[in-house]
Amino acid sequence: MRKMTKAGWATMIGMIALAILPPYFLLTGQAFYVDLATRLVILGIAAVSLNLILGYGGMVSFGHAAFIGLGAYAVGITSYHATWGGFDLIASYNGLLQLILALSISAIYALVTGAISLRTKGVYFLMITMAFGQMAFFLFQSLDVYNGDDGLTIDVRSELPFINLDSPMQLYILSYVSLAVAMLLVKTIVNSRFGMVLQGAKDNNERMVTLGYNTYFYRLAAYVISGVMCGYAGFLLGNFTTFISPDMMHWTRSGELMFMVILGGTSTALGPTLGSSIFILLEEILSSITLYWHLPFGVILIVVVMFVRGGLMGLFKGKGE
């Protein structure tokens, strides 16, 4: 076997910690920390998905939170109608059905918005993805059936075979396993032929086109994969919070996701997970100390981004890597 890199060790240790700590907290009666860990892991999935296009594809999307919202509303709306009637076609607590709905809506949304956004580059891409995200935000804000701005309470969680999402521990395990699979999936994709083209196009698009790659479609495919993964995170988040609102899609949420990826380290396996962990923990700790936590929070984040090259994962870089 090849010798493991420092980053590889860090990834293994980080993932083992996430596997061991929450069950420990639960057994010792500190349920609050399980909640925290669940949120952190679910947002980790979203950050991992964003890293595929941002880190490896060079597509700085500022509207990724829309996918979280779509995934969550797929649970919320179907569950709402199953409880209160109407819209018989989709009214259901069936988790698999909700999941299929969440993923396919995310895929369609990604395909349409990606096809348009990817006609542009750089800062224009950033702006247009943000605009699409805000469109989704305003759309759900205007849907009075689902309480618009005030959001929707999910009375019944998704019903899945073998797994009971009402159990915090089971929900956590599902989220954790999903995160591990997502990380593995992105790693596999990145190292595949497709991944080589994606990374080549990020680095030197002209060269890749000259070689015969229609880079637009490769990017679009990556964008759709990423969107679907993020939609899945939304499906979990809806089940976790049991309360959903348009706020989940607000551009500041997309900004937070982006920040997690950059904080942890783009184009690394663990980076996004590490970023989401630090982000959520820091937010929690600082907000318990002071009401004015946003300021020190912002300062710490800026310092890390400015002084640690390549995000926190940059600290684990070996010589010559």
């Binding site: 596999t188 994709i189 190292n191 595949s192 032929r193 497709f194 991944g195 080589m196 083209v197 990374q199 080549g200 680095d203 030197n204 002209e206 060269r207 890749m208 086109v209 000259t210 070689l211 015969g212 790659y213 229609n214 880079t215 490769y218 495919a221």
Partner: protein, 247 residues
């Protein structure tokens, strides 16, 4: 014999500058056709229109008799046109071997393959390695591209053009910035390629041009003022006046 590449009435201007002015050009299968001309004559602009990177304002480009004027660059690559860049254009964040492997991979079916590690696909890696060996970069294969010297980057450009297996190679000043020894090696190398590939060669180094070219076209202010055998070009008055004489 019908030419492999036929260019008719090609026009391209940038604002007030006419960079390509009614260019007609035939490139015959198997020949090394050199294009010479002073700085700013429009050589790179011409190549860019042939590779598909730039859209001409007017005119047609035929490859094997079929019109490719409106085909995008990636499609032309699939039809067998490759180019090297005057200003090195490589995937700097990847290894030397990865760069060449990407060229091989481009001809190995589509790349919507998500599972198998690309670096473990033997036939692609082997073919990439073969081409690196040809240009003398075997030892550098696993190094980061960004760590290589300018001369080595030029060699990589050639390895990539070779690996793409394109029938028509458009080489934009491959010797630019090379030392005399490196240049001589490259000339010898291109000589060996002669007949196997069709090459449109842009080059400032006149020794290289006269050593390699079967035919030469002279481009001045976007116009081709003469096309002919090397000896004809050497003795052409207009060419001497406009270009060679200036040296």
């Amino acid at each position: 014999m019908a030419p492999l590449l036929k260019v008719k009435g090609l026009m391209k201007s940038f604002g007030g500058v006419t960079a390509t002015d009614n260019v007609d050009l035939d490139v015959i299968k198997g020949e090394i056709h050199a294009i010479i001309g002073p700085n700013g004559a429009g050589k790179t602009t011409l190549i860019s229109q042939l590779s598909g990177a730039l859209k001409p304002d007017a005119g047609t480009v035929l490859l094997n008799g079929s019109d490719i004027t409106n085909k995008p660059a990636y499609k032309r690559a699939k039809l067998g046109i490759t180019r090297s860049f005057q200003i090195t254009s490589l995937v700097m964040g990847m290894s030397v071997l990865d760069n060449v492997a990407l060229a091989v991979q481009a001809n190995d079916g589509h790349s919507y393959r998500f599972l198998k590690p690309a670096r473990k696909i033997a036939h692609i890696r082997d073919k990439a390695m073969e081409n690196l060996i040809k240009v003398g970069l075997r030892k550098r294969a696993n190094d980061a591209t960004s760590a290589l010297s300018h001369g080595e980057h030029r060699q990589m450009e050639i390895a990539i053009a070779l690996a793409s297996e394109a029938e028509l190679m458009l080489l934009d000043e491959p010797m630019a910035g090379l030392g005399p020894e490196e240049s001589a090696l490259l000339v010898a190398f291109l000589k060996e390629l002669k007949g196997q590939r069709t090459i449109l060669l842009i080059e400032h180094d006149m020794d290289a041009v006269f050593a390699l070219a079967d035919r030469i076209s002279v481009l001045v202010y976007g116009q081709i003022i003469a096309t002919g055998l090397p000896d004809e070009i050497r003795s052409n008055d207009a060419v001497r006046h406009a270009y060679l004489g200036e040296e």
